[in-house]
C-alpha cells in the first residue's frame, strides 16, 4: 500500500478530503472534541433514520431492536459514530470509509463497545463490484466531501437492494449555510476545524434530488436539522432546510 492514508485511492473519493479527516481520526470519539457537533447531531439523525426505515419496511419503531434482520451500509463511516447506534438498534452493519486510519479507530471502538460491525477500508464501487446489496444505504455528511458526486450516487444506488432505501444528509448551499455551517461553525464557534467544508461542494435539496433521480431514486421525506443554541440540541424541521438537511430515498 503506497499511500499510508488510504488503500482505496482514486474512484469516488477525494484524496485531500481523506487526508483531512484521517488527521482528525483520534478525536472521533471525544464528545467534547472536534466532532462534538456530530455527537450532538447523532440523536436527530438516528430519529430520522429510525422513523423512515420503520415506515418503509413496516417495522415497529418502538421495539428495542427495530432494525433486526436488515443489512445496513454506512458509507463514509468515519470513527463509527452512526454505525454504533445502528448496530445497537439491531442492524447488521457493514461500514466503509476511504480513510484507513478511520477504519482502524472505528474497529477498536466497536470491539470495546461489544458491537459486531464489519468495518472495511473500501469504496462503495468496490462493494458494488463484489455484488454486495443492502436494505439501507446511509450516505450521511459524505456527498459534500466526494470527488465525483454523480459517480458516487451511482455506486451507492447500485449496492441498494431493489426494495431498499437510501438516507442522505448534507448541507444546503445558500448565503445562510455559508454563514452558519461554514463561517460560523468553522471560524466563529470553532466547532469544526477550519477548512472542514468547501462551501462550493454543498448541495441544494433540488440538486441532491436530481442526482438521486438520475439513479431512479425518489425522495419520500426531507427534513431540516435545526440547532437550538440554548438547549444545545438539534431537532428536525419540516420547513427549515436552509442549512443541514436529511433525505430519505427509495425506488419509486
Amino acid at each position: 500500500m503506497a499511500d499510508p492514508v488510504s488503500s482505496a485511492p482514486g474512484g469516488t473519493a477525494d484524496p485531500d478530503e481523506i487526508a483531512r479527516f484521517t488527521a482528525m481520526a483520534d478525536a472521533w470519539w471525544d464528545p467534547t472534541g472536534k466532532f462534538r457537533p456530530l455527537h450532538q447531531l447523532n440523536p436527530v439523525r438516528v430519529q430520522f433514520i429510525r422513523d423512515n426505515v420503520c415506515r418503509h419496511f413496516g417495522l415497529d419503531a418502538d421495539a428495542e431492536r427495530p432494525f433486526a434482520g436488515l443489512d445496513f451500509l454506512d458509507v463514509g463511516c468515519g470513527g463509527g459514530l452512526l454505525s454504533e447506534p445502528m448496530a445497537r438498534l439491531g442492524a447488521k452493519m457493514t461500514s466503509i470509509d476511504a480513510g484507513a486510519k478511520n477504519v482502524e479507530i472505528a474497529k477498536i471502538h466497536a470491539a470495546k463497545s461489544g458491537l459486531d460491525i464489519d468495518y472495511r477500508n473500501v469504496l462503495p464501487e468496490d462493494l458494488a463490484a463484489e455484488g454486495k446489496r443492502f436494505d439501507v444505504v446511509l450516505n450521511m455528511e459524505v456527498i459534500e466531501h466526494v470527488a465525483d458526486p454523480q459517480a458516487f450516487m451511482a455506486a451507492s444506488a447500485m449496492v441498494m437492494k431493489p426494495d431498499g432505501a437510501m438516507v442522505l444528509s448534507t448541507i444546503n448551499r445558500n448565503l445562510k449555510s455559508l454563514l452558519m455551517a461554514k463561517i460560523g461553525a468553522e471560524y466563529v464557534l470553532r466547532w469544526l476545524p477550519a477548512g472542514t467544508h468547501d462551501w462550493k461542494k454543498f448541495f441544494k435539496p433540488s440538486e441532491l434530488a436530481r442526482l438521486a433521480r438520475a439513479q431512479g431514486l425518489e425522495f419520500t421525506d426531507i427534513r431540516g436539522m435545526v440547532y437550538n443554541p440554548l438547549a444545545g440540541t438539534w431537532s428536525l424541521s419540516a420547513t427549515d432546510l436552509d442549512v443541514n438537511y436529511l433525505a430519505f430515498a427509495t425506488r419509486g
Binding site: H39, M86, A87, K112
Partner: protein, 428 residues
Amino acid sequence: MSAKTSSTAQSDAPEALDVDVLISGGGLAGGTLSLALAQAGFRVATVDLENMATWTDQGFDGRASAIALSSQRVLAGVGIWDVIHQETAPMLDIRISDGHSPLFLHYDHTELTDADGVSEPFGYMVENRSIRKALNVLVPNTEALTYFAPNRIQSLDRAADAAHAVLQDGTRIRAKLVVSCEGRRSPLRDQAGIKLTKWDYHQAGIVCTVEHEKPHNFCAQEHFLPSGPFAILPLPGTADKPACRSSIVWTEREDLWPLIMDLDDEAFLEELVERFGDFLGGVTLVGPRFAYPFSLQYAHEYVKDRFALVADSAHGMHPIAGQGLNMGLRDVAALVDVLTEARRMGQDIGSLAVLEHYQRWRRFDNTLMLAVTDALVKLFSNAVEPVQLARDLGMAAVGQMPDVKRFFMRHAMGTVGELPTLMRRTSA
C-alpha cells in the same frame, strides 16, 4: 429473589455481572431509580451499605418527607405508592406564621383546581421508613434488578468501553453507567474528582414524632421562630385516632440543639410544647428523637464519563421548604427519561454526550431551588425587627394576591417547569 446478601454472592466467580446501570446507594432516591430503570427494561445492579432487614427499624431514620404531587406520581409509577398509600397523609392546607405575629399565610388546596374543577392536595407526608419498607417488598420481585446489601463498591475503573467495579465481597460488575445515589457524603463523587461547595447553617433539625389530642385536619404548619422554622407536619394516625399524629422538625442553633437533645423526655416535651402551642390539645412523644445538622452543598458537575450524580450526592439543601427528596426524585425521573431516549436512539447510555442532557436538565432547576431555600433560611432565621416586619408584610401581601399565591402553591406541588415523563399527570 434477586436481592443478594454478602453471604450468598459468589466472591470467586470469574465472570463479571454485566449490567446497563450500576447504582451505588439504594435508599429513597437510589431505590426508586433502581426500580424505575429496571421497569424501563434496563439491567440494574444496586449496592447499598445498609442491611435491608434493619434499615426499617424505628431508630434508623426518624424523618418524614414531604412528597410533592409530582413526586407522588414518580412513586406511583414504580409501584411504591401502592404499597405505602395507607401510611401517607395528604397535606390539604399549609399555614405559615411568623413567630407570634398576627399575620400569617394560609394556603388551601381548594383554591387551586384543575380543568375539571378537582383540587388535589399539595402533597403528602410520608415517613422515610415507609418508603424503605416498600423497597423491601418491591426489590426482590424485580426481575432485572440485582441488589447487593450490605455491600459496597471497593474499586471502580471507568474505562472507555465500560465501568468495571469490584464489590467488597469480590463480586465483579461491568456497567455502561455508574450512578451515585450515595447521599451527601458520596465517596464515588470525590473519587471522580467532582468539586463540592458546602456551607453550614450552624443549625440542626431536631426530629421527632408526636401524638396530640385534637386532629390536625391534614394541615401542615410552619412557625418561623427566632432560631429557625418549627414545622408540624401531618402524619396518618391510628384507626381510632386517624389524624392525631405529626412529625416535628424543630430547627435550633448549633449551640443549643445538643443541650435540648440531652434533656430527659419530660423536660424535652416541655420545651417542645412551648414552641408547639396548645391548639392541638395535649401532646405526647412517640418514638426516639433525632438531630440532623443542616447544611447546603452542591456538586460543580453532575456527570463524568460513565458516571452521574443523583439526588443528595449532587445537591443538599436546607429542609425549610421540604424540597430535598422532591428534587432528588426529579433527578431520578429526568435520568430515566434521558437514558430511555438515548437507548431509543441507539446511543451509549454512559457517554458524556448523553449524560450532558441530564446535567443540563437538572442542574439549573436544582441550583435555583438551592438559592431559594438559602434565601428563605436567611430571611426567616433572623430576629432583626425591620426584616421581621418586611417578611410579615410580604406574607400578608402574597396572601392578598391570588395569582402570586397560586404560583407559590404550584411550586409547592412541584408541577412547574419541564416535567419528566414519570412526573406528568396521566389521563388515567
